[in-house]
Assembly symmetry: C2
């Protein structure tokens, strides 16, 4: 049963008179029940509980943390039917998409469970005392520790993998940070069901009350309160540029600035190298059209700009790509507002350049894929054309020669991904294009599309601004934990008072850097 209330630690509270509803975007119809926006008093309790929980949660053993994560997974699987049904109702996305996103979310939990057991994230480092040098070198040991309570903002386009128990939450919990989720108002019911699973798991495995809270809010003031709160020590956000930057300004301008990681959308440029293009046209256009149109183009990695230099076979390639994109079916977008934004931005393009595709008449927010075509000169003269259009749309930019392409690439801002398609043998400048692209992006692809992010340790999901507010961190993969940890050095502290990770005998059997060398060995004292 969905209560519409807020999980304030292990307590369900909802005393506000301010209520709101989520909506089925296929019908623009409100869904019952109502959700109670969290009150200032409830917010204050949530933060206080998180701070209190930090003391004990931060200190629990790797195995206990792993058992908490396994219990979350168990609860999710046990309740998956209801979760997936609400996911589809609130998001308008398909059941198969919901199922695959749940699988990905479970995979993420599994990977962080392994990480917590393996404990490499501590980056334990030991420099032994050296009495032979003057001044005598002290015993110095270092490892990463949790930064404190973390606030997570769920994403509209990934109700599971980037929301309540998405990559942000699980990486903060893995670090030992209590988490307060600001649930996304487009899927509060899905959020509550997932939060139920986390709270049940926390109770089953005796985690401290306050290790997790799930708060409903329609107003910006809720997020603002959380990010401003002195007891909150870090923030993770996935969403729009405007939303991310508003929170970034708050986090960095508070009396005690705190780290914030905001992932804010991305244009994801593609370069098509035209050597032997006729041999690849069918394969490449199929890949790219799918990547642009699938899921109504509502992915942060959707390619939004495609550059190509004129040459033999290029007109055919462009025509082929355009047809494949516009022949895709309309799909329901996540909300009426997102749908209207898509139409508005597409119309702005249409006033400037040639666009093909079906014109949409609002019918439950179903959007048809469209494709724009322009040339480098017009592209370089219009700052609007380098901005993301969130939805099933991409813009093809024809360049007359390499110099024009270089100018276009230099104009681009940071992106999560950048892609090159090329005939490996025939393309002369491939290394050059890859190098230019590398400076602009967090992930470089060759002859593959950026959508469908593989969750693995080598995946970096981040990128130079404005893709994210800090290109040094990722929100996908186990390295996501680095956002929520800080190193601490222990000097001249006897073995029995050290954390287990740093004790001589290496009781947790972890990989450590000892006097500069990485080893699993223990120290013979």
């Amino acid at each position: 049963m969905i209560t519409g209330k807020n999980w304030i630690g292990n307590q369900l509270l909802g005393s506000s008179s301010k209520i709101f509803y989520s909506s089925n975007p296929k019908e623009n119809a409100n869904l019952e029940p109502a959700f109670y926006q969290v009150t200032t008093e409830e917010l204050e309790i949530a933060v206080k509980k998180a701070e209190q929980a930090f003391d004990s949660f931060n200190g629990i053993s790797p195995l206990r943390k792993a058992s908490f994560f396994s219990a979350i997974k168990g609860q999710l699987l046990q309740n998956q039917r209801e979760i997936l049904e609400w996911y589809c109702l609130e998001s308008g996305l398909s059941y198969s998409r919901a199922q695959s996103e749940l699988n990905r979310t479970i995979l993420q939990i599994d990977q962080f469970t392994e990480l917590v057991k393996e404990n490499f994230w501590r980056e334990a480092s030991i420099d032994n005392t050296d009495q032979s040098v003057i001044p005598q070198k002290p015993d110095v040991r270092k490892m990463n520790i949790a930064i404190g309570p973390v606030v997570v903002f769920g994403a509209s386009n990934f109700p599971l993998a980037y929301s309540t128990i998405g990559g942000d939450t699980i990486s903060a919990l893995a670090a030992g940070c209590p988490v307060i989720v600001k649930s996304h108002p487009l899927h509060p019911a899905t959020g509550e069901l997932v939060a139920n699973a986390i709270i049940q798991a926390a109770i089953l495995t005796s985690m401290p009350d306050g290790v997790f809270s799930n708060l409903n809010g329609l107003d910006f003031s809720v997020g603002e309160f959380l990010v401003k709160h002195p007891k909150v020590k870090a923030v993770a956000f996935t969403g729009s540029f405007e939303g991310g930057m508003a929170l970034y300004k708050i986090a960095t301008n508070r009396p005690e600035p705190i780290p914030i990681f905001a992932e804010m959308g991305s244009i994801n440029p593609i370069i098509i190298c035209n050597e032997n293009i006729e041999h690849y046209t069918n394969d490449w256009t199929t890949l790219i059209a799918d990547s642009v149109a699938n899921g109504a183009g509502q992915f942060c990695t959707k390619p939004g700009l495609i550059f190509i230099i004129d040459g033999k076979g290029v007109v055919t390639f462009i025509e082929n790509l355009k047809q494949k994109i516009i022949n895709k079916n309309a799909e329901c977008m996540l909300s009426e507002k997102i749908y209207k934004n898509y139409i508005a931005r597409k119309n702005t393009h249409q006033a400037k350049i040639e666009i093909e595709g079906i014109i949409d008449f609002s019918k439950g927010n179903f959007a048809s894929p469209n494709v724009g075509l322009t040339n480098a000169v017009d592209f370089l003269n219009d700052d609007f054309l380098i901005e993301e259009v969130f939805g099933p749309y991409t813009l093809i930019v024809r360049c007359r020669h390499e110099k024009e392409l270089v100018s276009c690439l230099n104009k681009l801002k940071g992106s999560l991904t950048g892609t090159v398609f090329a005939d490996l043998k025939a393309c002369q400048n491939l290394k050059y294009w890859l190098n230019i692209m590398e400076k602009k992006v967090g992930r470089l692809l060759l002859n593959a599309v950026p959508t469908g992010v593989t969750v693995c340790p080598s995946m970096h999901h981040g990128g130079p601004f404005p893709a994210t507010t800090d290109s040094r961190f990722t929100s996908v993969g186990i390295d996501g934990i680095k956002r929520f940890i800080r190193p601490c050095t222990y000097q001249n502290i006897p073995d029995f008072l050290l954390p287990e990770e740093l004790q001589n005998k290496n009781p947790l059997k972890i990989l450590r850097r000892i006097n500069g060398n990485w080893t699993f060995a223990e120290i013979i004292s």
Copy 2:
């Protein structure tokens, strides 16, 4: 010969009519020659050269980078006599201090030379393609790359180890980032001599013009210009809270925010546990008095607050500590302004609490060590008493019981270090005090003093705000490189187009994470 000009890459320029002089703080007398403040045109060239140098410097081999570093070391040693003489003239610090700081600076260069050769900082990670799963797992590889041109602000109190070729510069260069140093106006001649060494080394080893620049400036506008410049991608600063925060605001509020690491001073609390204190009084007070007074207390790790709970032997301990501190000799401070600030802040304490020590009459900025004494109630009621007094001063806070001590500790802001002195066997609450302290600091010490930072991989020199603007990073030790790198993922890119670090055969023989496991092995394809 000191020219007073700016190294704009490999070119010495100084066309400004705005000049300034450094001063000998022992005599408050200006030193020749004059220094030319960098002009806007010169600043623009320096940034442009840095951006151009980035393309090639970022791509040079580990061995070439290491040879550049060795050449810097060689040039420093070759010119050490002149460097050390100017160091002493401009800083008022002793020749032996200058010598030991040079040794430390050389040690830092050596450690980064090793790091560059070893290449672990790349954190190379490979997840091979897996064709057995659906959807097929692509080949995904990741490593850290340089973030772009970096601006470094030298510190007044470490003309070598935290200035022109200090830890910030060498770690940014190690990452592959060109560096623009804003030379500290208290030691511009030392700065120019060190810059000469770097430029000569860069020319000797054929580094690109613009890999390093050294700029003189008395006005805040110089730093402001650099931190605001769109081509600058990160900033490192060591200095005052006011200076650090002014730059932090600029870096985070520019249209494209950039990472900034500002280390801004620290109160470095000490707790003295009183069990069996009479057995330790002499040893502990000797250590602490040295740590407070040496080098005129001008260290960011100088202990500024000492807490002790009343009990047997405590009065004697306090008396002993006070005497040892005030019996230390006066030493010359770094500048007249720093000296006057010390006197002013000490006088503010004196208006509130009991202070002992010689009253200074300005005589070439020589400052005598002083010590204040207050109780927990007064301490808790006065917000000024938790602020750092930069100089040879510390404040002892007597508490009546544990509860008072806990209140005092909770009031503290973040620090670089926190120290506990205790009888390991007799002290009952030792773990408790260490845990409270750990939350506030970046380095925890037991029965040792925080001054005299050991430069080794396990050293963390950073801490929760306001000690630094980002507790996740260090400015000492090889992990300082993490401030200036960002991960980049390479997906589906054939071996011959990958960076060597990620190629199957592991030609650089580095430690890599392959399918989740750290290994030196190559990949058999």
